[in-house]
């Protein structure tokens, strides 16, 4: 997240993965979710470090479920949601009017 409150690319991916795996969002599962959707390898350490940073900024919280205290389960906070929304809005404004097909670089 930069000084403007927007998320970095990997932070955005991690936050989205936390939402998609809601309820079972522990580090390894978040990693798998990103791997599944992006089809590339993600190092688990990077996911842990990013989740820590997001928690320090108050964008996610972590807790241990009563039945399985070995897992640290993440939940997105209200602040996390608004950061995602702001990041997405900026991105869409930037994409507005950009047509990659016309520039000939859109993958077929």
């Amino acid at each position: 997240m930069g000084a403007d409150g927007l998320l970095g690319a990997f932070e955005e991916q991690v936050l989205l993965a936390v939402i998609r795996t809601a309820g079972d969002a522990y580090g390894m599962e978040v990693r798998r979710e990103i791997e599944r959707t992006s089809e590339r390898d993600v190092a688990i350490g990077a996911v842990y470090a990013t989740l820590d940073r997001l928690e320090a900024k108050g964008l996610v919280t972590s807790a241990r479920p009563r039945g399985d205290p070995s897992r640290r389960i993440f939940t997105i906070t209200r602040g996390g949601l608004s950061s995602l929304a702001a990041t997405r809005a900026v991105r869409e404004r930037l994409w507005h009017g950009v047509n990659l097909a016309r520039l000939g670089t859109e993958p077929r």
């Binding site: 190092a43 990013t50 320090a56 897992r71």
Partner: protein, 879 residues
């Protein structure tokens, strides 16, 4: 959800260990369990190799992020919500936290921090500087092949060409034998005044024996050292660079010693023999008939032979010499011949000064460490409350100690950085202050000095940290929580006291060493050299070897006339060899009317008119040389008191005739004894004759100028140099100096080492005093309540001061006794630098002890004064 096997089972050990080490405790089992199950799944899908590659990619990809996270958590202190029941991160995390805490603590206690860092930095800087110097000068390998097989064969009278040539083909026990002698030569380059080069004349096989081939060109060839061989020269690397670093210099001719010589080789950078000042080597013209010569011999032993086992060989060699040559009892070279390893022969003179300084620096470092340890111990005591609370809240003892170690490491690192800077400064100072001679130019700073400083500082920090850590380990931390509030005395202070005792002992050790040297040098300065060294400037000149005798005489006469006319010069004269510069020529002596006198020699000096007046000799009887002593008239001789007493006994020598050359010369005067050889030598029988009246005129001379004031020396010397260059361009000016300086050099290395050791001792005493001050302050603060109560009960403030200072002095006294005992043993290190005092000199020990006691009393007075002014009411209310 995948079934979770046991976390350890199934995961290769190394990647698992790497991840475990860099994951907080609370998150380890989750991570390892997940990785294990995914690894197992991949293994059954892709095989062992595929799964292994995947695992390693995970681990290597994760480590940088995990290490960064550890650092970040340690730095910010972040602890996630989910881990609140099981806090604590990786080891690095806690270290970073402790480092930050240590930094904060040091920042809020600037006096303590600065004192600790500067104290340690002084010790570290000095030690790093001297050890880097010692390493560079004493521990570097010599630039010769297999130096352990090289031995120098020498005696106090040196060897002649005849002796060398006799020994060379048949010397037992050696593979090869080379001869060399110092031979400074003039160099004349077109368009520049002549200058003097430090040179060595040697036998042709010198470089072969040394096993040191030239970097360019060739060394000498077998018969290039016979009489009549072509003049060739090998240059040092530095000399080659001075001549323009031209690779085409080989084969070029340069005018050396008045003759044209061909440059045949250039030695590699870093090569030196026998000292780093030598610029040229050339073959000596070896004459088998020549019984003169000042050669030293260096031999190479066959591999496997050691110098220690050469005793028999030595007597074999001297036996051969004794069979071939006739030696008089006085000059018997077979009796005092020695074989010395080349390293000891060349570098032995550097060792005492360097080692004494290294020992002193090591002591300063130890004192500094004890000081900082005592300071930290005081801090620990002051923090007893904080430590007890932390311990009660669950901090393990290991964690509390880690915090202390972190603080020590922080102090150590900062001291290392400051110390490295001090070391770089100190290195220059040491090179200037130590008696290194030609080696001063060879000493240089390199990066290792900085690495050394940091290493020493960290080692010192570890040593320092053990003191408070041990104190903490032994003490009952939680028990202090209660004591801090109620009891008046926390801890016995025995450990602090012990540190100060050690510090004082070390300081006494150094002070005793310095006192010995000071007494020794004072004694040397108290010797009367027999001349007035005040306000005499000296110009050493060398004339080309090929200059004819008559021209030498004429040139010298003209130069003396010209320099006498320089402003500020009262009188000018010249001599072939100055007093205080070691023995010079000895010539045979006969006395008219005493044919029974056994053949003997005395020192012989050729001088110019007004020599005795210029140098301040005392005239005892008769007269000195004057205008009536003409070249064509009767030769006059001036003798000194020693000669008069030894050869004439009670008779009056004036008017008697003695023989030096072919005829008999009249004694015209007797002058007082001067130190014609070394300062500490007893008076030598010496006679003086005029240049104008001797058939032989040497090629080097010292022009001596008595000045109106000593401060004029620099101006007069440079004017004299210009005059000589202008009037006699082929004459090289070798050195410009003053008689005071010559005297200081004659006093020798002890003077320089003394200066350094005195400075270091002052430093050690200062550190010792700071240590006493710190410990006594702490002692007083801890017992403020005691003092308050006692004073409320009627103890006089004067008695309080007495008691506190008494404690300081008692600590110092114990340390001083231990130190004096150590000094008694340790001062033998200095014995080669001492003159007129024994290594265990009681007066020096007493002086050192007294100085430390005084420093201790002064240092204890300030806190004592504070204790005496305490207001009982205030102190008692505070509790």
């Amino acid at each position: 959800m995948t079934p979770r096997p046991h976390p350890r089972r199934g995961l290769p050990r190394l990647p698992a260990a790497l991840l475990r080490g860099w994951t907080p405790r609370a998150e380890r089992s989750e991570l390892l369990a997940e990785l294990t199950s995914e690894y197992a799944a991949r293994r059954s899908r892709q095989g062992r190799a595929g799964a292994g590659i995947w695992l390693w990619r995970q681990v290597l990809g994760s480590l940088p992020a995990l290490i960064r996270r550890s650092w970040w958590r340690g730095w910010t202190g972040f602890e996630p919500q989910a881990n609140r029941m099981q806090p604590g991160g990786t080891p690095m995390e806690s270290w970073i936290m402790d480092m930050r805490y240590a930094a904060r603590r040091l920042r809020t206690r600037p006096t303590y921090a600065l004192l600790a860092i500067l104290t340690l930095a002084l010790g570290v800087g000095g030690t790093a500087a001297i050890f880097s110097l010692v390493r560079g000068l004493l521990l570097e390998p010599l630039p010769y092949a297999d130096e352990q097989n090289l031995a120098v064969f020498w005696n106090q009278f040196d060897w002649s060409e005849a002796e060398y040539l006799f020994l060379k083909p048949q010397v037992p026990g050696f593979k090869a034998f080379a001869a060399w002698r110092p031979a400074d030569v003039t160099l004349e380059l077109p368009g520049a005044p002549a200058r003097l080069l430090h040179g060595v004349a040697s036998s042709a096989n010198l470089f072969d024996v040394l096993g040191a081939p030239p970097a360019m060109g060739r060394a000498f060839q077998a018969d290039e050292d016979r009489v009549g061989a072509e003049n060739i020269v090998v240059l040092s690397h530095a000399m080659w660079r001075q001549l323009g670093s031209d690779p085409a210099i080989l084969g070029r001719r340069i005018k050396m010693a008045g003759v044209s010589s061909t440059v045949v080789g250039v030695m590699p950078a870093g090569f030196w023999f026998p000292d780093p000042d030598v610029q040229v080597w050339f073959p000596a013209a070896m004459n088998p008939q020549s019984r003169s010569g000042q050669y030293s011999l260096i031999g190479r032993l066959p591999p496997g032979r050691s110098i220690e086992t050469m005793g028999g060989t030595l007597s074999q060699i001297t036996g051969l010499l004794g069979g071939q040559f006739q030696y008089s009892a006085q000059w018997d070279k077979t009796r005092n011949a020695r074989l010395t390893p080349v390293r000891e022969y060349l570098l032995g003179s550097l060792r005492p000064g360097l080692l004494a300084t290294a020992a002193a620096m090591g002591l300063i470092l130890l004192i500094a460490c004890a000081n900082v340890a005592a300071l930290m111990l005081g801090q620990v005591d002051g923090r007893a409350g904080e430590l007890a609370v932390r311990s009660a809240l669950g901090a393990s003892r290991r964690r509390l100690m880690q915090q202390l170690v972190a603080e020590a490491a922080m102090v150590g690192m900062l001291a290392g950085v400051v110390g490295a800077g001090l070391a770089a400064l100190g290195f220059r100072v040491l090179v200037a202050m130590l008696p290194l001679g030609a080696w001063a130019s060879a000493a240089h700073i390199d990066w290792s000095l900085f690495a050394l400083a940091i290493l020493i500082a960290l080692a010192a920090a570890v040593g320092i940290a053990t003191v408070p850590v041990v104190s903490l380990w032994r003490g009952d931390v939680r028990g202090r929580l209660t004591r801090v509030r109620s009891a008046s005395t926390g801890g016995s202070g025995r450990m602090e006291g012990g540190l100060v005792v050690a510090e004082v002992a070390l300081a006494v050790l150094m002070a005793a060493g310095a006192a010995l040297l000071i007494r020794s040098v004072t004694k040397l300065y108290a010797i009367d050299p027999g001349i007035d060294t005040h306000a005499v400037a000296v110009v050493d000149i060398t004339m080309p070897v090929l200059m004819p005798m008559e021209q030498r005489r004429q040139t010298l006469r003209e130069l003396l006339e010209a320099t006498r006319a320089l402003p500020g010069v009262r009188s000018a004269s010249a001599v072939q060899k100055l007093p205080l510069r070691g023995s010079g020529d000895n010539w045979g002596l006969s006395i008219e009317g005493h044919p029974e006198l056994p053949p003997s020699t005395t020192a012989f000096r050729v001088v110019a008119p007004r020599y005795f007046e210029t140098m301040g000799f005392r005239l005892v009887a008769g007269r000195t040389f004057d205008a009536t002593d003409r070249p064509e008239g009767e030769r006059g001789v001036v003798i000194n008191e020693a000669l008069a007493r030894h050869y004439f006994g009670g008779e009056n020598p004036i008017g008697r005739r003695i023989g030096t050359f072919d005829s008999l010369d009249r004694v015209i005067g007797v002058v007082g004894n001067a130190s014609e050889a070394k300062l500490t030598d007893s008076a030598m029988s010496t006679r003086y004759m005029l240049y104008d009246q001797t058939p032989y005129v040497p090629s080097s001379h010292s022009i001596v100028l008595r000045l109106d004031r000593p401060g004029m020396a620099p101006g007069v010397l440079s004017a004299a140099q210009r005059t000589i260059h202008r009037m006699a361009p082929t004459v090289a000016v070798q050195e410009l100096t003053t008689m005071d300086r010559v005297f200081a050099l004659a006093v020798g290395p002890a003077r320089q080492v003394m200066g350094l050791l005195a400075v270091l001792t002052a430093l050690a005493m200062l550190l010792g005093a700071i240590g006493v001050y710190g410990v006594i302050s702490h002692f007083v603060n801890r017992r403020m309540r005691d003092w308050g109560i006692r004073m409320a009960l009627g103890l006089a403030p004067r008695r309080v001061i007495g008691q506190v200072v008494g404690r300081g002095v008692a600590l110092v006294a114990v340390g001083a006794v231990i130190g004096a005992a150590g000094a008694f043993v340790g001062s033998r290190l200095l014995s080669s630098l001492l003159y007129g005092v024994r290594a265990g000199d009681p007066l020096s020990l007493a002086l050192a002890t007294f100085a430390l006691l005084l420093a201790g009393a002064v240092a204890a007075y300030a806190p004592a004064h504070r204790a005496s002014r305490v207001d009982p009411a205030t102190v008692l209310r505070e509790q």
